[in-house]
């Protein structure tokens, strides 16, 4: 573990860098953050030493930077300042630094108070108005550029404790402006929801002073966080967890003792942290578990509380301590740890000065007493009494030197002496020494010094003693001033000089205190600037000396006068005395006799005492013999220990050998791991390579597919040589096929169709001059059709001949045909304009009128029956020798659009306009609804339907261009697809059931492959020519369009390709290849 890590900071607060060791406060940190997020300002109050500053700098700030404090921008600008003597300047300096602005400009702006701070922030490079930004990328960019602003006014009570900020119950303009700025900023931030947050930390005993700032008490009521005392489990965390984080540990018994002891302390947390810091050092930087013995070694626990083993260790250690340190162990307690530490530093200060202060060349002039005086004056300068409370007082190095006021004690000397209290292990006086910054050892004379924490004032007994003396000195000084003032006000009359007793008292005070002008100025509580205070103090110093001198002179003069009178009295007294002497001599003689008797008695007594003494001496001699025997025993013990030591050394040598063996092992292991790492890297590299190859192949495949598409498109263009079209279409087909392209790719199909049509000069076949109403194809080569005038023809496609079918007797078609429906190759229904239905038999060449109704939307013939659908009626007819008889009518609520039957002619379905499907049981003449349509809206209505060859699916077309596929058995929609923005006119399955063909009013035919229903279909566009009818044969569709023309298309691109190939007579030339393929692939030929 790193020796330099100390997870306890000591007396000072945790810094941001030490946040990782700040434990026990997670709940409080979260509470403050929640409050800040809601209210934008939090005033953190608490007793001295409650941990306010640590909570903010080591708690809230790191959490904010780590992203646990949610605000607008991704980063934070932390403006932290202390009021000290010039709050507005301090705020401006830190704000300008954080926002990269000029200090002067910021200061001049902030002087106006109110919204000035908000304006400075908003005009900086770190604020962006995000509410208008729509583009998410831009928003993200600005969020990362901007920064939220957190302003921390630490040690807020300095607004009240520093006379520059607050005097005679009133704040200075500077102080008032600063507080106004901060409060207004909080108000505006809340109103406008700006990412600005403000924290004050303040001692709670200054809350009542806050009334001096307008609005501040209200804010305290609005958003205050009073730092609570830590609960037991939180204290335990604060004690044990930092050690764990740093790789050490704290014993539970130590933890319990500390918890119990700090509860009685007035500065629990600073004392605790300081103690733990010391224990960590004593435990060899945490290499040993922190335990009770370490506390004892720091004078924090009496040795009697230790177990036997630890007791012995402690006693042996204690024996070696210097005598002057032993006295600090007389009253061990937790607060005594700090006392002991401070005293050790005080005792060692002279030695430290001699060894560590290179800038003072001649150290011989400085004595130990001088160093002690310097320390005393320094700490007295750094403290003062304020309304009965011991508080810190910030003072410069120069001011301390002036207070000492001795010519050989310069400020360099003072710097060197007090450095022992600034070292990292001590940190009693701020600024601290940073060993990484050598310049921090020597500080300029105007550096402001400060005590780290008031806990030092309350727990260092020597300092308390000095404070007490100082307090007495100050009280005496104040008393003296009253007397002096009276004398000065009365023209320095002798009646107001000091009497002897009082004079002696004040002369002792003067000798003790040695008040110089700096000391006097320190206790000047007026509002005057320091220079003027000093002048007044100088005058007062002179007056003090004069007053004392005058008083003394007066007393001496009075004394002389009294002496003369006393001489006269003396002579008279002598005569009286002589007379009295005579009498006295006689009395003396008698007294002498009595004395001799007494002396005899005394002699006897002394003899008895001498005898006693002798006996005592014998006893002591025996005692010494005993001690000698003990010494011999101790010597024997020492010898034993030496032998043990030798044994330990041998063990250590063994251990070293073992360690070396382990190191060698570890190195071997390391080498193995390096090899494994290399293997791992190699595997990953291989994986990467495979992935790259795959990716490259895929890219190539996609390139070729894309080329195929491009060739297809080019195949639809006109070239001088039709062979080019054929070649383009065929190569497109080949590339698509060879590279796993979609077989029914629309572009490939179009290219093939176009090239083939061009090569074969395919054009539509005009069946008749008149409009053809319907057609039927019994086979691939025969077309049956009826024209508008009712004539029926056959057309032989092979012979390219049309033949009229004559009837034996003219069937009475009175008008043109309004609708024609071929039922099969023998029967058809023709409807004239009046609505008469004719059943025409092409074999017998007869016809029968069997109905009078609007033209059927659909009709179906099976066995001897005929089903027709007309409007909302489905009619079953029986046919017998051209006699047609109505069997039954089925009436529906909606129009019937389609009658469907399976290939075995067993199951019948009826589809209505709403999309509802009924199953028709002809045997029982019963209809059952098997699927309920929900297409009542006009544009949703079903327009067409077809049944799949396997009888499982009905494809339904709708007026809004939708096609739905319905599973008959489960009675639910399997799939749906929107084809066009207009009606689906016709929908039919092909013979295999794999394709679905639709016709739309825009005269396009779409061929869907059901397995890839949502892929782009093959589309055949017939331009502006209306499609009247469509018939599907096994591998072709025939389309009746242009009123009387017929055209056919293959359903499968393979069919086109196989027909194109024989038509290709040549290969691409090199030039053509370059033109169409470029350098994508190497040329290959298809014609050998």
């Amino acid at each position: 573990m790193n020796q330099a890590i100390i997870p306890y900071p000591g007396l000072r607060p945790f810094t941001e860098e030490e946040a990782i060791f700040f434990k026990g406060r997670d709940t409080h940190i979260k509470q403050i953050i929640t409050q800040l997020q809601a209210k934008k300002i939090v005033i953190v109050t608490g007793a001295s030493g409650a941990g306010k500053s640590s909570l903010i700098f080591a708690g809230v700030v790191p959490n904010a930077r780590a992203g646990f404090f949610k605000a607008t921008f991704n980063s934070w600008k932390i403006v932290s300042f202390r009021p000290e003597r010039s709050p507005l300047h301090n705020l401006s300096v830190n704000l300008a630094r954080q926002l990269n602005l000029d200090y002067e400009e910021v200061f001049n702006e902030l002087k106006f108070g109110f919204s000035a701070l908000v304006n400075v922030y908003k005009n900086s490079d770190f604020y962006f108005e995000l509410s208008q930004i729509q583009d998410p990328d831009k928003l993200k960019e600005l969020k990362s550029k901007g920064a939220n602003l957190l302003i921390i006014a630490d040690q807020f009570e300095e607004f009240f404790t520093n006379p520059e900020n607050f005097a005679h119950g009133r704040p200075s303009i500077d102080a008032y402006t600063t507080v106004n700025l901060l409060l207004e900023t909080a108000t505006i931030a809340l109103q406008q929801n700006l990412p600005i947050f403000i924290i004050f930390t303040m001692r709670s005993d200054y809350i009542s002073d806050c009334v001096a700032f307008k609005g501040l008490p209200e804010y305290i009521g609005f958003s205050q966080f009073f730092v609570p005392r830590l609960k037991r489990n939180e204290l335990q965390q604060a004690i044990e967890e930092p050690a764990m984080l740093a790789g050490g540990s704290v014993s539970k018994r130590l933890s319990e003792v500390l918890i119990n002891q700090i509860r009685d302390s007035s500065d629990p947390l600073p004392i605790l942290q300081h103690t733990l810091h010391q224990l960590w050092l004593t435990a060899n930087y945490g290499q040993e578990q922190l335990d009770l013995i370490h506390l004892s070694k720091n004078a924090g626990l009496h040795v009697s509380y230790l177990n036997e083993t630890d007791k012995q260790i402690f006693l042996a250690w204690f024996e070696k301590l210097p005598d002057n340190e032993k006295k600090y162990f007389e009253n061990p307690s937790l607060s005594n740890v700090l006392n002991y530490h401070a005293n050790k530093l005080y005792d060692n200060a002279y030695l430290y000065f001699l060894e560590n202060v290179p800038w003072v060349k001649d150290k011989t002039k400085i004595t130990r007493q001088d160093t002690q005086l310097i320390i005393k004056k320094t700490f007295l300068g750094l403290t003062r009494i304020d309304q009965g409370r011991a508080v810190r007082n910030r003072i410069t190095l120069k001011e301390i030197t002036n207070l000492i006021n001795q010519p050989h004690i310069t400020y360099e000397v003072v710097n060197g002496v007090i450095n022992i209290f600034r070292e990292p292990g001590s940190t009693f006086i701020h600024p601290f020494i940073d060993p990484d910054q050598p310049e921090s050892y020597y500080i300029p004379a105007d550096t402001v010094l400060d005590i780290t924490h008031e806990a030092l004032i309350r727990n260092w007994r020597l300092l308390q003693k000095w404070e007490h003396e100082e307090e007495e000195n100050v009280n005496d000084f104040l008393e003296f001033k009253v007397q002096l003032k009276r004398w000065l006000e009365n023209n320095k009359r002798k009646e107001y000089l000091l009497p002897l007793g009082t004079l002696t008292y004040f002369e002792q005070w003067y000798e003790r205190c040695k008040p110089n002008k700096y000391w006097i100025a320190k206790y000047d509580n007026s509002n005057l600037p320091y220079e003027e205070k000093l002048k007044a103090a100088e005058k007062l110093e002179q007056n003090i000396k004069l007053y004392l001198q005058k008083s003394r002179n007066y007393i001496i003069a009075q004394e002389k006068k009294r002496k003369a009178i006393r001489t006269v009295f003396a002579i008279l007294s002598l005569i009286i005395i002589l007379i009295l002497i005579g009498f006295s001599s006689w009395a003396l003689h008698e007294k002498r006799n009595a004395e001799i008797q007494r002396q005899l008695a005394e002699k006897k007594k002394n003899e008895a005492i001498a005898a006693n003494r002798k006996a005592e001496q014998e006893r002591q001699r025996a005692e010494m013999e005993k001690k000698r025997a003990e010494l011999a025993a101790q010597k024997a013990l020492l010898e034993k220990r030496k032998a043990d030591s030798a044994k330990n050394i041998a063990l250590k040598m063994m251990k070293i050998a073992e360690e070396q063996r382990i190191i060698a092992q570890q190195q071997a292991l390391r080498a193995l791991r390096e090899k494994q790492k290399a293997d791992s890297l190699r595997k990953i590299a291989e994986l990467q390579k495979i992935k790259a190859i795959k990716a490259s192949k895929e890219a190539q495949r996609l390139t070729l597919l894309s080329l195929a598409q491009s060739l297809s498109f080019k195949a639809t263009q006109k070239y001088d040589d039709p062979q080019v079209n054929l070649l383009l279409a065929y190569y497109a087909y080949l590339l698509n096929k060879r590279n796993g392209g979609y077989k029914y790719d629309a572009a490939i199909y179009r290219g093939l169709l176009s090239a083939y049509s061009l090569a074969k000069n395919i054009s539509p076949l005009k069946l008749d001059d008149k409009t053809v109403m319907d057609f039927y194809m019994p086979d691939l080569l025969t077309v049956l059709f009826q024209n508008i005038s009712g004539k029926i023809f056959t057309y032989d496609l092979f012979e390219n001949q049309k033949k009229l079918i004559h009837f034996r007797r003219k069937y009475q078609l009175k008008t043109n045909v309004s609708k024609s429906l071929f039922l099969n190759d023998t029967l058809l229904i023709a409807v004239d304009v009046y609505g008469n239905w004719y059943l025409i038999n092409l074999n017998s060449r007869t016809s029968t009128v069997f109905n009078y109704a609007p033209a059927p939307s659909d009709a179906l013939i099976f066995e001897n029956y005929l089903l027709t659908a007309s409007n909302k009626t489905l009619t079953l007819w029986r046919i017998s020798n051209m006699t047609i008889k109505k069997v039954k009518n089925f009436t529906f609520r909606q129009r019937v659009i389609k009658i469907l039957v399976d290939k075995n002619v067993q199951i019948f379905y009826v589809v209505t306009r709403y999309g509802t499907i009924y199953k028709l049981d002809l045997d029982n003449e019963k209809l059952t609804k098997i699927y309920k349509g929900h297409n009542r809206k006009l544009n949703n209505m079903a327009t067409t339907a077809d049944l799949s060859p396997d009888g499982t699916t009905i494809a339904m077309g709708h007026a809004n261009g939708l096609i739905t596929l319905i599973d008959i058995e489960n009675q639910k929609i399997i799939d749906k697809l929107s084809v066009v923005n207009s009606m689906v006119k016709l929908t039919k399955f092909d013979f295999s059931g794999e394709k679905l063909i639709t016709v739309c009013p825009d005269n396009t035919i779409n061929i869907f492959i059901l397995k890839k229903f949502h892929e782009k279909p093959i589309t055949i566009s017939l331009g502006n020519e209306k499609i009247n009818q469509l018939r599907i044969l096994p591998d072709k569709i025939f389309v009746l369009y242009k009123k009387n023309s017929l055209i056919s298309f293959y359903l499968d691109p393979d069919d086109y390709a196989s027909r194109i190939k024989p038509l290709i007579k040549r290969n691409f030339t090199q030039k053509e290849w370059q033109q169409f393929f470029g350098n994508t692939i190497a040329k290959f030929d298809i014609v050998k």
Binding site: M1, A19, I20, F21, F22, K23, P62, N63, R65, A66, G67, F68, F69, K70, A71, T72, F73, N74, S75, K140, K143, S144, K231, R232, N233, M244, L245, A246, G247, S251, K252, R253, S255, E256, V257, N260, R263, L292, S304, Y305, L306, N307, L669, R673, Q676, K677, S680, L681, I684, L687
Partner: protein, 299 residues
């Protein structure tokens, strides 16, 4: 907040010496008013019954309270005083029940150590053998003791999140989301990866969730490209929340060298591996770090 859990405290009040009876009686009154249930053995029980009842009550409770006075008062049949006997029984019970708590109260009224040597030894024994489940207090008043008991016995269970076992747990700031997701995609081929994007505008309580997810991960990785400052603070907070050096978890802090600021990232700890490297090598380094951890586990 703590009221609904007070009912779960069930205390065994150990017998105390005659000089501490008044503290015993005060404590009963406070426990009653704090609505904490308690049991104790009456004065006049036989020794056999006393022994039997002690063990029985220890089994029926979830904590014991022992008030230590100045007098020892040994009982011949026990070989020691009653309080001392019950204390040792409580220690034995603790060995079998890790959730049990023992509260020792030496009231502040007793400023010095007892004159009775045996009692002194008993107290030293207690002090020198305190462990995780023993709490030693010197409070002035039983109210303070009961406040401590409540705060220790009422444990605040943090919200449990639905976290998954994973090999790599990738955490990044939302401004680095794009490159981070690319890294995730590449790593997903070779290891299981969970991710969390830290967004300041989100409502998610990240710190508890992340701590729990880290516990279920083999290798937590903090990735950064632009969010250097965030990464520097984030790793500190997360390292601290997961136990720092005392945790066995190895963290990987990995940054993209294309941002020159990333070289300034300054946090270091023995269980945090820090790498700044080119974008292409980042997934590789993460995989290597993961393999090293797995190999260590196997070895």
């Amino acid at each position: 907040m703590e009221e609904h859990l007070v009912a779960n405290i069930n205390a065994f009040l150990a017998t105390t010496s005659s000089d501490a009876i008044k503290f015993f009686n005060e404590l009963i009154g406070v426990l009653y008013h704090a609505q904490i249930s308690y049991r104790f053995i009456p004065e006049n029980e036989s020794i056999e019954r006393f022994k039997h009842k002690t063990n029985e009550l220890l089994n029926l409770t979830n904590c014991s309270i022992h008030i230590i006075g100045d007098k020892y008062e040994p009982v011949e049949a026990l070989g020691m005083s009653k309080p001392e006997f019950q204390y040792y029984q409580a220690l034995k019970h603790l060995k079998n029940n890790n959730e049990y708590r023992i509260f020792i109260w030496r009231p502040a009224h007793y400023k010095d150590l007892p004159k009775d040597k045996k009692q002194r030894e008993f107290i030293f024994n207690i002090l020198n053998n305190i462990n995780e489940n023993i709490i030693y207090s010197t409070h002035q008043s039983p109210i303070m003791l009961v406040e401590d008991i409540r705060s220790i016995m009422v444990s605040q269970i943090p919200a449990k999140f639905d976290v998954k076992e994973t090999e790599i747990y990738l955490i990044f700031n939302e401004i680095d989301e794009q490159p981070a997701l690319t890294i995730k995609d590449l790593l997903s081929d070779v290891a299981s990866v969970e991710t969390t994007s830290i967004s300041l505008s989100s409502d998610i309580d990240y710190d508890n969730f992340i701590v729990q997810q880290i516990k279920k991960s083999v290798l937590p990785v903090i990735y950064f490209k632009k969010a250097t400052t965030w990464a520097n603070y984030f790793i500190k907070e997360i390292w601290r929340k997961t136990g720092g050096l005392s945790s066995k978890k190895t963290f990987l802090l990995i940054g993209d060298e294309s941002n020159p600021e990333n070289k300034n990232i300054n946090f270091s700890a023995p269980n945090v591996q820090k790498i700044i490297t080119s974008e292409e090598l980042i997934p590789l380094e993460i995989k290597v770090a993961l393999d090293n951890i797995k190999n260590k586990v196997q070895v």
